[in-house]
């Protein structure tokens, strides 16, 4: 019994040990004055910056604006990727039409598109949403396409032999069979969503976390810069946890080992 509790504690504690040590070293370095606060603020200073920013209502405003951009971009890009992926996976002729162009566009580095996007959309909201949607679209498209194609042909044959036709075959066999891969695409897409958000908000913005960081840089407020970086890390972790919850909810039939989860 004691061993079980110890193991349970280990499982919950283990992921936090390395971050805790890093934080401790960081704080000590700051306290000892080994590095100037303008180069690297101590965790305490970052925390205080967070508190004062939150108290002023700045933090939540920028956070909401950024999260809103991320969500809208993700939903738009994810939906397009899902629809195109399903189309290409299910219909051979649609695949011929769409897959070549998709692979070509995918090969273009997103950053190379930034000047084009600025000329097209200016530096307003649309440019940011466009970049995020574009980034999210590809992993969702690729994984959906792959997922539909990778559905066990034996199950498809069984379904046909048991009289499943048309939409019934999609609903019972093809779509549930593709779902695990789609969710892998969603998780990749979420990662790229934050990455692109940072890039997009750094180009030009007057609100959002990226703006907060750029603004702080102007005034050499290292603690605020670090605060935004920390918030990006937290947002990434939160969205990844949400993706895991989504998997558990949508794929209850999978064993934990199939979900590639450790904890």
């Amino acid at each position: 019994m004691a061993l079980r509790i110890a193991r349970l504690n280990w499982k919950t504690l283990a992921p936090w040990i390395v971050p805790a040590i890093l934080l401790l070293v960081w704080e000590i370095v700051g306290r000892l004055g080994l590095v100037s606060p303008t180069i690297l603020s101590s965790p305490g200073a970052v925390f205080r910056a967070g508190l004062s920013s939150a108290a002023a209502g700045e933090l939540s405003r920028h956070l909401l604006v950024s999260a809103g951009r991320a969500m809208i971009g993700f939903v738009v890009g994810g939906t397009i990727g899902l629809v195109l992926g399903l189309g290409a996976g299910l219909f051979r002729s649609f695949q011929l039409l769409i897959d070549g162009p998709m692979q070509m566009v995918r090969a273009i580095p997103l950053l190379a598109l930034v000047p084009v996007v600025i000329i097209w959309f200016g530096i307003g909201e649309q440019a940011k949403l466009f970049l995020i949607a574009l980034a999210v679209m590809f992993p969702v498209y690729l994984n959906t396409f792959y997922g539909v194609r990778a559905v066990d042909p034996q199950l498809v044959e069984m379904g046909k032999s048991y009289g499943l036709r048309g939409f019934a075959l999609y609903r019972e066999v093809l779509l549930p069979g593709a779902l695990p891969a789609v969710l892998v695409g969603v998780r990749h897409g979420l990662g790229l969503m934050w990455l692109t958000l940072v890039v997009a908000e750094t180009i030009a913005a007057d609100e959002g976390l990226g703006y907060m960081a750029m603004n702080a840089r102007e005034f050499m407020q290292m603690d605020v810069v670090l605060l935004t970086i920390l918030i990006y890390a937290l947002l990434g972790k939160v969205s990844d946890s949400m993706a895991k919850l989504l998997e558990r909810w949508l794929l209850p039939w999978q064993s934990p080992a199939q979900r590639l989860e450790i904890a």
């Binding site: 069984m158 499943l164 019934a168």
Partner: protein, 256 residues
């Protein structure tokens, strides 16, 4: 329900030059249990898949109650070598794939018949291999088919589970009276279950054996041994076909 009459006439099938079936003729009488036995590559699975409408013959016909078999009517059900259950559907819903308008009670009843009523709410992934095949059997039988095609569904099971499944299948067949065609490479299984056993040998029916023993049959019955050795000889190509030492030496050629 009486069972479907199957009539195969002059059936031929080849895959890229390789002739898999050569002029097959055979009949399954309504309610008869026919076993196709042969080594791998003898064409027995292909023949079954043509009956199931999963493959098309190059020439010849396969008639089910006088109608062409392409289109797989609901009166026909296939059990595959693998259970082929949908992992994302619980056992009840998997059985319902067999007949989607089935009432909850009917599903539970057929699960009762295969002895899995208490596993109705499980995911397939937690079931054993034998249990999965029993779910597949329930899924096949809920539509009360007139013809059940079994493509070596017991091949991957362990000896005990296999015995259990053989008894279960035979019991349900006796009870319901459908026609059945079983493909197997197990000679004992063929004699245990078949009214008629056809030996397939490189695409032809090499021998047909009628087995008239009381059911349920056991391997210690008097005729069982005789039937077994006769079938085994035939499946292995007959005692005369085992190459003698001289033949082997003659066949050896360094230029091959």
């Amino acid at each position: 329900m009486t069972g479907l009459r199957v009539e195969v006439e002059n059936l031929c099938k080849s895959y890229s030059e390789q002739e898999v079936l050569k002029n097959i003729d055979f009949v399954v009488e309504p309610g008869q249990f026919v076993v196709l036995v042969g080594q791998s590559g003898s064409g027995k699975s292909t023949l079954l898949r043509i009956l199931a409408g999963l493959e098309q013959p190059d020439s010849g016909r396969a008639l089910l109650d006088g109608k062409s078999s392409n289109g797989s009517p609901a009166s026909l059900r296939v059990m595959f070598q693998e259970p082929r259950l949908l992992p994302w559907r619980r056992v009840v819903q998997n059985v319902r794939i067999g007949r989607r308008d089935a009432e909850e009670q009917e599903v539970l009843d057929v699960l009762q018949q295969v002895g899995l009523r208490d596993r109705a709410r499980e995911w397939p992934s937690v079931l054993s291999g034998g249990q999965k095949q029993r779910v597949a059997l329930a899924r096949a039988l809920i539509a009360t088919p007139d013809l059940l095609l079994l493509d070596e569904p017991l091949g991957a099971l362990d000896a005990l589970t296999r015995l259990e499944m053989q008894r279960l299948t035979e019991g349900l067949w006796l009870d319901r009276g459908f026609s059945a065609v079983l493909v197997t490479h197990d000679v004992e299984e063929a004699i245990l279950l078949g009214d008629k056993v056809c030996v397939l040998e490189s695409g032809r029916i090499a021998e047909t054996l009628y087995i008239d023993m009381p059911r349920p049959r056991t391997p210690d019955a008097l005729e069982f041994g005789a039937h077994t050795s006769r079938l085994l000889d035939r499946v292995l190509g007959g005692p005369g076909r085992i190459p003698r030492e001289r033949e082997i030496v003659d066949d050896y050629s360094p230029h091959n």
